[in-house]
């Protein structure tokens, strides 16, 4: 195969096609962000349910919650995505790539989030719950108005960390057909053969999002420590 006479030097390529690559890659940003946000919301809800089940008095509720957490933390997110995307058609349901991404990453993060919720709830002194109950609150109300508002303070830094992880995990979802930043990067590399500029640029885009988020997480962590 004859090599095509294309520019290959890094700066040459950056100069000639950098803007084109950048705008194409940024075209995937909405998908990346919406999957990250969507799966975070999904995980926040599912994770809370799992955490409450895990703290329940009934073994019948505790056991499935434990099994859920162990399974989703014990297997790679990529395999989970593949089971949903390629496996579910086998049992008669074909989810869309976007659904797979949000549900797959969300279920995975929910397992980690439920442990964060649990630790946060357990860190609130028992006396708080007892006091609320003795004031005549139902357990649900006590959880909602007394325990959770206090627990959120300690949970905020780890939840920020989970959102960073989720944002980075969106780089996996090109494997299930979502056209986000990495999918476009791969497509551009196939078209132009300029892997160096494109992949480094994609990396820079991720860093522009994750480094500020990590700063926020560190600041929240410091604030929490000062408060405690």
């Amino acid at each position: 195969m004859e090599p095509k006479p294309v520019a290959t030097g890094f700066f040459e390529v950056l100069d000639q096609k950098g803007w084109h690559f950048l705008t194409s890659l940024l075209g995937g940003l909405p998908e990346t962000v919406s999957v990250a946000v969507g799966s975070l919301l999904f995980a926040l809800v599912v994770g809370l349910v799992i955490a409450l089940m895990r703290l329940s008095r009934w073994r019948l509720l505790r056991f499935p919650a434990v099994a859920y957490v162990e399974f989703f933390r014990g297997t790679p997110a990529l395999v989970q995505l593949f089971v949903i995307y390629f496996g579910f058609p086998d049992i008669g349901y074909q989810p869309s790539p976007f659904q797979v991404a949000i549900v797959g990453l969300g279920l995975n993060a929910a397992a980690y989030l439920s442990e964060i919720y649990r630790a946060g709830i357990e860190a609130i002194h028992r006396g708080q719950m007892e006091a609320a109950l003795s004031l005549g609150m139902t357990p649900m109300r006590a959880m909602r108005y007394i325990v959770l508002p206090q627990a959120i303070r300690t949970m905020l830094p780890p939840i920020t960390n989970i959102s960073i992880v989720l944002l980075k995990d969106t780089a996996l979802i090109f494997t299930v057909g979502v056209v986000e930043i990495m999918a476009i990067a791969r497509q551009q590399v196939t078209d132009s053969l300029q892997s160096h500029v494109i992949y480094l640029m994609a990396g820079a885009i991720y860093l522009c999002m994750t480094i500020p988020m990590a700063r926020v997480a560190a600041r929240l962590e410091r604030a929490k420590r000062a408060w405690q």
């Binding site: 297997t75 395999v79 086998d90 049992i91 008669g92 980075k168 990067a185 892997s195 990396g203 480094i211």
Partner: protein, 227 residues
Amino acid sequence: MLQLPGIYAENIHRWLPELLYYSLTTLNIAWASFVLAVLIGLVFALLRTSRSQLLRAVAVGYIEVARGLPIVVVLYIVYYVPPQLMPGLDWRWLNTYLGAVLGLGIHGGAILAEVFRSGIEALHKGQMEAALTLGMTPAKAMAYIILPQALRIVLPPVANYAIGLLKDTSLCSLIGANELMNDAKSIAFAEYQPMAVFVLAAGIYFVMSYPLSLGVRYMEARMNLGR
């Protein structure tokens, strides 16, 4: 009623040996990149805590970048970028296996550097001074006073990192490394049995990682006893 058309679990006897064979590659990648990550982590933890501002800045730059990038992106950059950046050199040594180990090692090095730093910083200087004043040699003080305390801080997060790493090796299939995930993909699509094969692969990952996480829990419980 859900139909379950053609999930042929009876083919397990053909798939399982092959998948297990490739999970050895997974374990190899995991442990090689673990060693690399520990080495990189130690070096950058020392740089990060050094007195020179320049060295500290270098360490912070590396840590922020390598931790902030998705692992897939690190793998793609390590495997595809250098040969094109420096086409004059001979890049035949950079096969998918080495690319996987380098990529995971670079990413893990940044994580472990922060872990080791917290271990170093948690130790009060006074400990070493007190040990020396009591007539211990520096080596003895290190072995009996400093290291046992540092290990207690560092070991649980390192073990958690190792568990994460084992699962992250599945990403190496995306640059074509021939490990468990890649083999599962090829069986699944060759035999049109994605559900059965990927669930089986998930099971193998679980069997590999669960004992590790039980070990971590046991270790953490034992360490908290001493408090």
